[in-house]
Point group: C2
Chain length 407, copies 2
């Protein structure tokens, strides 16, 4: 079993790194704050006697191998340590630190396994600063060209490749420089299911599809006092119609589609000027690809009608599009076995969030373990999972990793 | 009559000052760009042999007086030279430069009038950077405490008083240091009426009431992928409902109410995070105070219902509230007489925009002259009034000013 104290202390410590002036946790990808978190993580890898490797997209790997197993495809554990703006301390970090903890505990206990075990921290999983999300694992899995990914422009106008160089994490390894035997990602659920049902462990068997778009609406700036309502081409009102449509559509829907508009900007953004331009993002998700396509089509039809009726032009750009993923049945069973052996309640479930496992599933058998999130809250400083739940999940991870690396 | 070339050249020249990197005209109040415009205007005042006086709220006055009339209350002409973001070149500047032009032409022609004539450029008429709009004229008219006005916080976090000091326009005169005999403001209509009806001159007899509010909606940040639609407290969706409500209400209205949401921001403003906070401004106007109050009440009722149904809290703060104003009937008649004498078509009308005349009307008989705006467009670089229309308006102003200063 793992060293519970060490794991819990590291989660707290990493969560204290990258606080802004208001005390908010903001370790968005490849930022100065992210560098601080990365440096701490690499310090722990070195302290644990692991080999550290960094690839060109900035993914960090801590490798535990010996002369006997060095030629075998490794079992990979991991997640990410970048965060959203004003984040909680568990999302991503828990899976990375538990992966490291599993390796250290096995190593300290003198295990000699048939395969190396690697813990990975993938770059820009959150997708807050650079699109798409899960970028490091996507590039590692060959799903996106490295050059294109490095050229990504951040919300602050920065270039990912330049930012990685600046913070010292533009590594020398080619992404995909090894092919994992299997990948297991432990994560907080970020949703309400486990807590509501009083279940300790989720064996995640699939993950919903994600469609991210950026919408730009162009109308005409004019004077707020002198322009009759009937003569306006108000980009802001048109944007509000889209937000209302999405909320209505997803709420009324008999499917499980969720729709979110998380960012918005008006131009010129002045109190007495009708907005000439509104820019906003849309996040659509559904576990069923057919339903996701239906929602995308309904949105496209709405935008077309709206453009005509509101006298505006509307441009939709895809920022990310991932189909739903089904995880490896064998690993899902191993997770269930592990929970049963530990006397923990367990259920199969779907992930609502995107995860690096979704990308790594393209190149290796993969699955995920979830532990409960209090109130289903995440991407919020109130994110919380109890210490005993964190420890229980990490022990399941250790067991599954040991089984996968045993032959 | 005025020197048409001089007036038209000055309008062009002032319009070329304060362009940003993208070529946009952005001379928002008390900015570096505003300073450049002010410096040019003061240069012209000095060149015209006028006495220059600046008051503590940064209003600039060019005074033409002689030993004989120095004791009399002056006739004041003027408007403002601050602009919105990405502005046209006529709004405000036209009235200021035409006022100066009227004085210079009368002076050069050797007129000796019974009263001084003053041209004024009032601070922060647009209200884009600091609220409320018409601030300089409001303070001059005693409608707002000087200290409070100087303490106004700009949209960029700056303090108006500090900004005025920084750009060298925190003058030494107390606002209201003279009481005008009358005030006449020439302005582009900024609306579609004169052009549509083919009329050269508007004699503005009243001005609609203005209600500005800032709305803050607080919900709860959560994960865009894992949070079911039914469990969300989405501040962004609530904001969209308000914007839709206002547009529907004002469009359907049998009154002349106009409603605009010109600015908006979400927090944390991330693509995959449900907005915890939405902040936006509302601009409501109506020429009839009863109708304006009705709209304010309908909005307040809607916000209350929305807060309950969407599980959010909503805070509304008034940024500016001005009742409709009726101008001086005598000056309106003088404007009509002037148009008739010049053989120009003229109609009485209501101003949709707020103007400094609205504030000065509190302390002196006031009225306004409008000339046509092509397409009714303003607060937009496409703002345009033809040179002959500009010259015609300035000549009416000169005539009215001479009449008012004659005794
Ligand atoms: N797990 C997680 O929050 N991933 C970020 C990508 C997303 O699902 O929006
Ligand atoms: N004339 C003008 O555009 N004034 C600005 C104040 C307003 O009406 O919004």
């Amino acid at each position: 079993t793992i060293n519970a104290d060490r794991l819990l202390h590291r989660i707290e410590e990493l969560g204290s790194i990258g606080r802004d002036a208001q005390g908010r946790l903001v370790r968005v990808a490849a930022s100065d704050m992210d560098k601080l978190g990365r440096d701490r993580f690499v310090g722990w890898l070195e302290q644990g006697g692991l080999e550290v490797a960094i690839d060109r997209i900035g993914n960090i790997f801590g490798i535990w191998r010996d002369d006997a197993n060095a030629g075998q495809a490794p079992v990979m554990l991991g997640s990410h340590i970048d965060t959203v703006i004003d984040a909680g301390i568990y999302d991503g970090c828990y899976g990375v630190l538990a992966g490291l903890e599993a390796i250290e505990s096995l190593k300290e206990a003198g295990f000699a396994l048939a395969r190396p075990i690697v813990v990975a921290a993938f770059t820009n999983e959150e997708g807050v600063r650079f699109s798409p999300d899960m970028m490091g694992s996507l590039v590692f899995a060959g799903g996106r060209n490295l050059g294109e990914a490095l050229a990504s422009i951040g919300t602050d106008g920065t270039v990912l490749g330049k930012e990685l160089e600046r913070i010292g994490y533009a590594g020398r390894h080619e992404p995909g420089f090894f092919k994992p035997h299997a990948y297991v990602e432990l994560h907080v659920e970020q949703g309400p299911v486990l807590e509501r049902e009083g279940i300790a462990v989720g064996a995640v068997e699939n993950l919903q599809g994600i469609s991210w778009q950026r919408i730009t609406i162009d109308g005409e700036a004019n004077h707020a006092g002198t322009t009759p309502m009937s003569m306006r081409r108000d980009a802001g009102v048109a944007a509000a119609r889209v937000i209302g449509f999405l909320a209505d559509q997803a709420s009324a829907s008999s499917t499980r589609t969720v729709a979110t508009v998380g960012t918005i900007a008006f131009e010129p953004n002045a109190i007495n000027v009708i907005p000439s331009r509104a820019t906003f993002t849309i996040d659509l998700r559904d576990p069923n690809e057919t339903h996701l396509r239906k929602m995308e089509a309904a949105l496209a039809a709405f935008l077309e009608k709206l453009a005509a009726s509101a006298g505006v032009t509307i441009h939709a750009e895809s920022l990310a599009r991932f189909e739903p993923v089904t995880f490896d049945a064998g690993i899902v069973s191993l997770i269930e076995d592990g929970a049963r052996a530990a006397g923990l309640s367990c259920r199969r479930m779907t992930s609502g969030a995107g995860h690096d496992a979704q990308m790594i599933a393209r190149i290796a058998p993969s699955a995920m373990i979830f532990v409960p999130s209090r109130g289903g809250i995440s991407h919020n400083p109130a994110e919380f999972t109890a210490p005993d739940e964190l420890v229980a999940g990490a022990n399941i991870l250790l067991g599954v990793a040991a089984r996968l690396a045993a032959d």
